[in-house]
């Protein structure tokens, strides 16, 4: 279970402030602490996988110093400039080169800096990376990871707040995961790196400083395994990334009203663990879906469809969705807060689905 201390507060945009967990200049986690933050957990996963497999390398902008989120901090010290490549500001070449390297023997982990900038390498992701293995009749595989720091928060504005996961859900040939806790972040990153296919790992930038327990031994979280973050009887809330925490906060509040909410985190969207979702819905018969992307045509839209497909007859009420409105994310705090789905919205949705 996650440490929930940070949940009520709006998770922040961390800048380069030293992390609470003190990963500062240490450069390593030989004895992983039991408690670490999401960024440290990702850092540890990268370090472990780079030690395990010399084919793994990192490429992206400003990753030697790990700016702006600290995820890759210290790795250049251990693995050197051949395995931690600060690239020019050339997203198409960063992503395209990862494909070339993956096809010929390496395992790239690409830092998109902000998921928003995948728009500058969209052909490379959807036409080249996603399709190479298929179009070439299985002659090649394409083992690479795209790290997609994303999320709304801290007035980052329209160009640094896009939720783009739905585009890639709609692009056959890619796997997608969205960890919500430090443990899941570490476990999914390790799995993604070992997976022989391209995996997009969405890291919510509002969670980087969220701390939580991480198992001491090397635990892989499989793709396609949802996780019940909180069991409950009355309503199923299917939530991703930051909205898992907002939903847990909502569940605590609703518990006070005697409403017992189950929070299910799919963890990976492709492949999707339909069984765990369906089992929860068959138990509660009422569903809320909570995400951060814009309402129209989002990943949550797909999750709603899956629930309909699996459990139409089990539903006692129409599904209620929590998502951002269909606008770019505005800058000013009150506007951004308006656009950013939160625990309140989940509480309201649960009340609505119980009506």
């Amino acid at each position: 279970m996650v440490d929930e201390s940070l949940i009520e507060g709006r998770p922040g945009f961390p800048g380069t402030a030293p992390s609470a967990g003190g990963m500062g200049g240490m450069g390593g986690f030989d004895n992983p602490p039991m408690i670490m933050d999401y960024a440290q957990a990702l850092n540890q996963a990268l370090r472990e996988e780079m030690r395990r497999d010399p084919r793994v390398y990192l490429i992206g902008e400003d990753i030697v110093l790990g700016v702006p989120f600290g995820v890759t901090k210290g790795l250049a010290d251990e693995f050197g400039p051949d395995r931690v490549l600060n690239a020019p500001i050339s997203e198409a070449a960063i992503v395209g080169s990862a494909l070339g390297a993956a096809l010929t023997g390496l395992v790239p982990v690409v830092d998109m800096h902000f998921a928003d900038f995948v728009t500058c390498a969209m052909d490379e992701v959807v036409n080249q990376i996603a399709k190479s293995r298929y179009m070439f009749g299985g002659q090649v595989s394409c083992p690479l990871v795209l790290r997609m720091p994303y999320g709304i928060g801290r007035s980052a504005g329209g160009h640094h707040s896009n939720s783009v996961e739905a585009w890639f859900l709609n692009t056959p040939g890619l796997k997608l995961c969205m960890p919500s806790t430090p443990a899941d972040a570490r476990g999914l990153m390790k799995t993604a790196i070992r997976d022989p296919d391209p995996v997009l790992l969405f890291e919510h930038r509002g969670l980087y400083r969220l701390t939580g327990e991480v198992p001491e031994d090397e635990t892989l979280v499989p793709l396609g395994a949802a996780d019940v973050k909180r069991p409950g009887r009355d309503v199923t809330v299917i939530a991703t990334a930051r909205m898992v925490h907002e939903s847990l906060a909502a569940a605590r509040r609703l518990a006070g009203d005697g409403i017992d909410v189950e929070v299910v985190d799919p963890r990976s969207l492709v492949p999707l663990d339909r069984d765990t979702l369906a089992a929860s819905v068959r138990k509660t018969n009422r569903v809320v879906i909570a995400e951060e992307g814009p309402m129209r045509g989002s990943a949550g839209t797909w999750l709603a469809w899956v629930v309909m497909e699996e459990c139409f007859d089990d539903l006692d009420a129409p599904i209620v969705r929590v998502a951002a409105p269909n606008i770019p994310i505005p800058f000013s705090p009150p506007l951004e807060t308006f656009a950013m789905p939160a625990a309140n919205d989940v509480v309201a949705a649960v009340h609505q689905v119980l009506k």
Partner: protein
């Protein structure tokens, strides 16, 4: 030009304070040390010329004559901001002075500019459009596509690279093969010029010549202006990647001090006059701050306006 640079510097210094004091939310990239470029450009351009800017755009807008009140209120996220709080530092625009937008995505202006050039050409006016971009941004594809298109169609577009030696933590030399951005112009058959970006007159001169050329219908030019940023890449940057010497070098090449020395030598500026300028500028900026402070925040559901011209749609 002196007043212009002082205005940019003072504005940015005030922004830094306000950011540190928690008054300004979001990401903020200031242009302290780089004022000669913004002001040299704005002086060389006419009022109705267009500018496309970057994430480090306050100086460009201040120099182009944008309203300090509107800009400061926007940085505060206030309802009275130029963009009603929807844009903020990285996505601000003031169309009334031809400033067609800062940009959170690097080098994007390089491909937008040729379209502005097309519109100018179609209406047959003598305007030009100038797009700013950084040395880091110059490595993105849009640079290539935009320069090629503008050169091919002889559009009145100026490509102005602010080379401040760094793209965030990455040194120019470690991201730019060949080292010179200006040298890339030759491949497109257009003039490429390297200018001292700490010398406002040099920038003014280079941009003036390029603008004249563009107005004559002879097409685009590329100018690489070398400068030094005195402060962090963004507010909060620990700057572990560079030595203090560089900032010292920047301060030593201070474009404002330099122009002041020249003007004083020519007898065009004296202590008293300079003091009046500084005072007047300080007054303008405090007025802008006071305006921003006093302005209301937008109502939360103002977030739903301004998306489409005919608002609202059913969904």
């Amino acid at each position: 030009m002196y007043a212009g640079m002082v205005r940019v510097r003072s504005f940015e210094e005030r922004v830094r304070e306000l950011f540190a004091g928690g008054r300004i939310p979001g990401f903020t990239h200031t242009s302290i040390g780089q004022e000669a470029i913004a002001v040299g450009v704005a002086t060389a351009l006419a009022e109705d010329d267009y500018v496309l800017s970057t994430h480090r755009g306050h100086g460009h807008l201040v120099a182009k004559g944008g309203s300090l009140r509107g800009l400061m209120a926007e940085l505060y996220g206030k309802a009275t901001g130029i963009c009603h709080g929807k844009g903020g530092s990285m996505h601000i625009a003031d169309v009334s002075v031809g400033y067609l937008g800062a940009n959170g995505v690097l080098a994007s202006g390089c491909v937008v500019a040729p379209g502005v050039g097309l519109a100018i050409k179609r209406r047959g006016s003598a305007q030009v459009v100038l797009t700013f971009f950084g040395d880091g941004a110059a490595n993105r594809g849009p640079f290539h596509e935009g320069v090629n298109m503008a050169a091919l169609w002889k559009l009145p577009v100026l490509f102005l690279c602010e080379n401040n030696r760094w793209a965030s933590t990455t040194a120019h030399a470690l991201s730019t093969a060949g080292g010179s951005i200006a040298a890339r112009a030759a491949g497109y058959g257009i003039p490429g010029e390297s200018a001292d970006g700490n010398d406002v007159l040099a920038v003014w001169d280079a941009v003036s010549r390029a603008a004249e050329r563009a107005r004559r219908g002879d097409g685009p030019s590329l100018i690489e202006a070398h400068t030094i940023r005195w402060v962090g890449h963004f507010e909060g940057d620990a700057q572990l990647y560079r030595s203090k010497d560089e900032v010292a070098e920047g301060r030593q090449k201070d474009p404002i001090a330099r122009l002041r020395a020249s003007l004083e030598a020519l007898g065009l500026l004296d202590e008293a006059h300079a003091a009046r300028i500084h005072e007047a500028v300080a007054g303008e900026i405090e007025d802008a701050v006071a305006y921003a402070e006093a302005s209301p925040l937008p109502a939360p559901d103002d977030a739903l306006t301004d998306l489409f011209v005919h608002y609202p749609w059913r969904e």
